[in-house]
Assembly symmetry: none
Homo-oligomer: 202 residues x 4
Amino acid sequence: MSKPAKSRGSYDPERTRQLLVDSAIKLFSERGFSGTSMQDIVAGAGVTKGAFYHHFESKEDVLKLIHDQFLEAQAQEMERILAEFSSPVDQLRETIKMSVRGVVEYREHVAIFFQERRNLTGERAQQVRARRDEVDRQIADIIRRGQDSGDFDSRISVPVAVYGWVGMSAWVYTWFRPGLGMTAEDVANQLAMLVLDGLLAK
Amino acid sequence: MSKPAKSRGSYDPERTRQLLVDSAIKLFSERGFSGTSMQDIVAGAGVTKGAFYHHFESKEDVLKLIHDQFLEAQAQEMERILAEFSSPVDQLRETIKMSVRGVVEYREHVAIFFQERRNLTGERAQQVRARRDEVDRQIADIIRRGQDSGDFDSRISVPVAVYGWVGMSAWVYTWFRPGLGMTAEDVANQLAMLVLDGLLAK
Amino acid sequence: MSKPAKSRGSYDPERTRQLLVDSAIKLFSERGFSGTSMQDIVAGAGVTKGAFYHHFESKEDVLKLIHDQFLEAQAQEMERILAEFSSPVDQLRETIKMSVRGVVEYREHVAIFFQERRNLTGERAQQVRARRDEVDRQIADIIRRGQDSGDFDSRISVPVAVYGWVGMSAWVYTWFRPGLGMTAEDVANQLAMLVLDGLLAK
Amino acid sequence: MSKPAKSRGSYDPERTRQLLVDSAIKLFSERGFSGTSMQDIVAGAGVTKGAFYHHFESKEDVLKLIHDQFLEAQAQEMERILAEFSSPVDQLRETIKMSVRGVVEYREHVAIFFQERRNLTGERAQQVRARRDEVDRQIADIIRRGQDSGDFDSRISVPVAVYGWVGMSAWVYTWFRPGLGMTAEDVANQLAMLVLDGLLAK
DNA sequence: AATGAATGAGTATTCATTCAT
DNA sequence: AATGAATGAATACTCATTCAT
């Protein structure tokens, strides 16, 4: 609506930009950041190097953009969960669903996020780290409130619970693929059960 | 007797070899495999490129060797646990301790194992994958036996339990450092509690 | 019109390309393919390695190109001779002239062709071999027709005559330089006499 | 006879030396001098680099030795021919036989001689060039005497005749293999006929 | 006589990026 | 907005040779 179907020649900068980002996402997730050359990226988008550098500052610049896309989506989800649910138990259960759903919808972003973060340097690295820490902090808050309310077992220290939960969630991208007999819903429910009720039979 | 404890200087191949492996371990864990150049490795060891290629086939060759060292240590631990403990509950608890202890003793190996595996290609990749799958299979066996004996909750499917546990364990290397107020023992116990008893207060 | 005779300076890709090929021809003929480094080639052309790899796939790629230039010229000459002359005697005489003239005009190409062919591998080698065999086949045809017509002595088998002639012609590049008292014309005539009339006095 | 079967341990220096030369001959003729690494040579001989440098000064040193072996054999043959035959016609015919036979018996030496000469430098190159020129000079003498005696056609200049003959002879190594339907004797006779009687029917 | 470790200079090729057009 | 030519530094790896043993 805001972008009317403007008349144009063969140029469509927005499309070129998107083609480049898509190509980078695909390749970074498959071969890693270092394993992907600029040549690969522009060939995948069907344009030339000059076009890339017209739209982006550097290779790292696109990597940062991909991180931002993922972090933005994650932050919005988190926002929504905290607004929509009030009990710590429900909130934690929802974040697990969010993670598994994230893996399904953003598989490539997630893989890049967990494996290529190290290739961000300087200010870009700091920004990403800050946003990621923010998520950890939000999880920690949920757990803390749960312990305060008596819902969660206080013998488990907050950091261990957070990192245990995060590790479990992050790991999903390494093994879960939709369409192999388990739905994302199933996986999320079982993981929630595991971390909330424990593996021991009652 | 035949091998006198000769120490010094420029003619001690075993030492050269070790210096090179140590340098590679340090650098791979800090900057990643792709981010480390051969020049970096040999400079770190204080020898020349020629010396490196006298002892190893390629950069990837050392990466494989590092993986093997870690996998070997892990396999032995696993062996020991299965021999020493008989109940699934104890066995699972021990594997968690093993993981945390592994992170303490082999931090760099672990980081390399979880982040640089993708740089192994061909037969080397296959071998490592096979040994890693073997560990997953052993965990799965423990859980299955625990469910059969009624110790473990059967509502959680074996793969989800395995991957949940593995993710939690693997993730430890991203955050745990000894000497920051928690001992490895503490961390292991709390993680065991989390996954066995669950986070919910009883 | 669309391609103005722009001449100068640093933005003339066709010129860069030619400078590189010329440099390679000079160096390959002087020091051989293996004895010439990429550094030598680009230094001789006054450009950088990057520029080379922008225009060519590999060192071997240029070697192939040089072979093709020579083979193309040779094929055209052969075509012309077969069209212009009809008697086998005249045709053979003309091919000798062609060879000597070829040595004068393409001395470096010829030297490269006869000494560096082995450095072509795979498909490139096959293509060159095929084109060279084609020339041998054309010579063989001339001789066969000469024997059939009774012009040539049938006691000499076709392959021996062909290889004898080819060897004699190829060898010229190892010793003949214009401007040392003999013209290319002289040399060609005497070689023709040698192979047609024989060395024995009549 | 002069070398009695001396008692020895596992060392047999003369044998080691020969294994190295044989390995070099095989490899130089197959892959060229530059294309053969020291590693290839010593592996082919089943010894180590140290052993090589115990027996030879350098890679080029062995190349020179191979040239000397071939040139020595050629010089002896030439000596024999000049002593045994007196007429220029017979002598020239014999040298053709010698060349073809040389290709059969010394194929690898011949290939190395014609293709790897350029890799000899300095004094070594000079020595080889001198001995090769000597052979050319002997051929030139034969032809000159033949022209003086009226046996050979004087319209063909001596250098052209020499180089024509040499080219024809040298080329044999590129195509002739025994056991493909023609004997060395056949080939020599036909080449002699070609260069002496000429290709034209009488 | 021979080994095997080590050197240091050299190899072809690829890289992310810049810039004239 | 986009092309394609060019840079210059870096890449993993190989070389012939030397030398302590």
